[in-house]
């Protein structure tokens, strides 16, 4: 066994998703190398080297990797894949864009969104919006995998001491480039890493209501904000708030669904949360079937009261 993990980072910080991939790699077994691709990546490389269980950090530093495209990353990773038994990506937007390119050029199938590792050849992944779990076996020389972050506890950020070295970066294929980025501004914790998540749905009625009602509650609980597809489609919040089958898949300690009916496509993104709270005026809403605590009521009354009581210390 020999495992290569592709680091997911923003140029200054290694994402927690990468540490989830390290945990998945530990379940497979064998030496783990992490490749950090970017430009000016010493900080990120040090963070990768500090994760326990990582043997080597491979630094791929080139100016065209500052905002890496899947095309440029693929050229690098195919060159590094060699006789690796496993190439692991976190199931982030860059991982989802790049892994299939790498698999296709290595002429091996990819196993997407792996939720558990049975052994080095055998993996479980959700299909049909998580309503079915499928176990696949691959006999291929290299297994290209994307790791479902919500299913693996992140490896600790410190305690390791991997060696670091530079690798040769192939030239930019020059067929694509990133020309703009519009990151949603939020002072809230990051959705996929937060301990508490508050999600709003169409029941909130407008983007203003979403902010006025959920903002203070998120502040009181130091929570991240999420949303159903309906709320994103209606324009209440940007696309990166979406939780669900085709949005973000999360498993926080506490998930509070407000004004969300709970379509199966939404449940696919949050049903592995440890504790689920649902607030909805419709007692028949499917969200109550997965909620640990359900409160049937008018969210316009319930949410401000909830916020107020949370803000008071427990007696």
């Amino acid at each position: 066994m020999s495992i290569l993990i592709i680091a997911d980072h923003d140029g200054s910080k290694l994402s927690g998703a990468t540490r989830c991939a390290v945990s998945a790699a530990a379940r497979i077994g064998g030496p783990v190398d992490i490749v950090v691709a970017g430009h000016g990546i010493e900080t990120v490389a040090s963070q990768a080297a500090a994760i326990p269980g990582v043997a080597r950090v491979l630094k791929a530093d080139a100016s065209h990797l500052e905002k890496p495209t899947a095309e440029a990353l693929t050229a690098l990773i195919v060159a590094l894949a060699g006789d690796r038994t496993h190439v692991l990506f976190a199931n982030t937007s860059i991982g989802k864009a790049t892994a299939p390119r790498v698999a296709a050029l290595l002429d091996v199938p990819q196993i997407s969104d792996v939720a558990s590792v049975v052994d080095g050849d055998t993996f479980v992944r959700p299909i049909y919006a998580g309503s079915v779990l499928a176990t696949y076996r691959s006999r291929e020389k290299t297994k290209v995998i994307t790791v479902r972050m919500a299913s693996f506890e992140a490896a600790p950020p410190e305690g390791g001491n991997a060696t670091q070295g530079n690798v040769t970066v192939p030239p930019d294929p020059g067929i694509s480039k990133v020309i703009g980025q519009e990151a949603s501004k939020s002072d809230r914790p990051e959705l996929t890493a937060a301990r508490v998540v508050i999600s709003g749905g169409r029941g909130l009625g407008s983007g203003e209501n979403y902010l006025q009602l959920l903002g203070p509650l998120a502040g009181a609980l130091n929570a991240a904000l999420g949303a159903s597809r309906a709320a994103v489609d209606a324009g209440y919040v940007p696309n990166d708030y979406q939780v669900g089958q085709t949005g973000k898949i999360i498993a926080p300690d506490l998930y509070i669904a407000i004004g969300i009916s709970g379509a199966i496509q939404h449940l696919a993104g949050m049903k592995e949360s440890k504790v689920i709270v649902a607030i909805n005026k419709d007692p028949e809403a499917p969200i109550f079937q997965v909620a640990d605590y359900g409160l049937v009521g008018d969210l316009f009354q319930v949410v401000p009261e909830f916020t107020q009581q949370i803000a008071q210390p427990a007696t």
């Binding site: 504790v275 605590y293 009581q309």
Partner: protein, 249 residues
């Protein structure tokens, strides 16, 4: 420019699928099938490009069983000009589909391939990217806005942190996210017209591709159910339970 739109026949998104009792697969008997919703967005986008005079021809292609003809007829009813079915009874995995599509691209020579970002049955999210890689083409997966010029495309993509704009050289592969457009309903006259549009059938063997699955499906099962929760009567009870029982706040 010619636009190729790969579409997949999948279990309708409203159906609650059931696992076969022997755990060998999902029970598809008597289940309503539809076009993958993301592929419907792709067809709509291609047809809009034709209506704007940018696309000259829209060709829909599907790989799978004979019934995929129905899916292709849906694409033709939305406005595709003609269709190709790569017919096989083999259980197709994304790598095999990408290889079949590569051969179709070689024959048809489109400047743009638009397809859905993922199919809602296997949720793999692979085929478009694999096809782009096999062709040596650039890609723009998870597109929410597409603008074409003569030799390139500017595409706004939905990514984890928000939106990203990429410029890709043509020919290229674009995969659609939910908010690229809202597909139209096919009208009855267009459904009738679609029946007369050309639909060609070809086999994987004729394309020189072995479509056999490379991953072995060992079993499928339903995930463990969450245990039933409780309804609380008011906010005070909810806060109390979260503090003392669940201990999460």
């Amino acid at each position: 420019m010619k636009v190729l739109v790969p579409v997949k026949r999948v279990v309708d998104f409203n159906v609650k699928v059931r696992v076969k009792s022997d755990g060998t697969g999902v029970d598809l008997g008597g289940v309503k099938m539809s076009m993958n919703p993301f592929d419907e967005i792709a067809v709509e986008e291609a047809v809009r490009l034709k209506e704007k005079g940018i696309a000259t021809e829209v060709v829909a292609v599907s790989c799978g069983v004979a019934q995929c003809q129905e899916t292709l007829r849906t694409a033709l009813a939305i406005g595709a000009d003609r269709a190709i079915l790569v017919e096989t009874g083999v259980d197709l995995q994304p790598l095999a589909v990408a290889k079949l599509l590569r051969e179709i691209v070689r024959k048809e020579e489109p400047r743009l391939v638009i397809t859905g970002k993922q199919a809602i049955d296997d949720d793999a999210n692979q085929t478009g990217q694999m096809l782009a890689a096999l062709l040596g083409w650039p890609q723009a997966p998870f597109a929410s806005k597409l603008e074409l010029s003569r030799d390139s495309a500017q595409v706004v993509r939905e990514v984890d942190v928000g939106l990203e704009t990429v410029e890709i050289r043509l020919p290229a592969v674009v995969t659609c996210d939910l908010r690229l457009n809202e597909p139209r309903y096919a009208t009855l006259p267009n459904i009738m017209k679609a029946k007369k549009k050309p639909l060609e059938t070809i086999t994987p063997a004729a394309l020189g591709v072995d479509p056999a699955p490379r991953l072995e499906l060992l079993k499928v099962e339903e995930p463990g159910k969450r245990k039933a929760g409780v309804l609380v009567k008011d906010v005070s009870e909810l806060v109390l339970k979260l503090r003392t029982e669940a201990k999460v706040i």
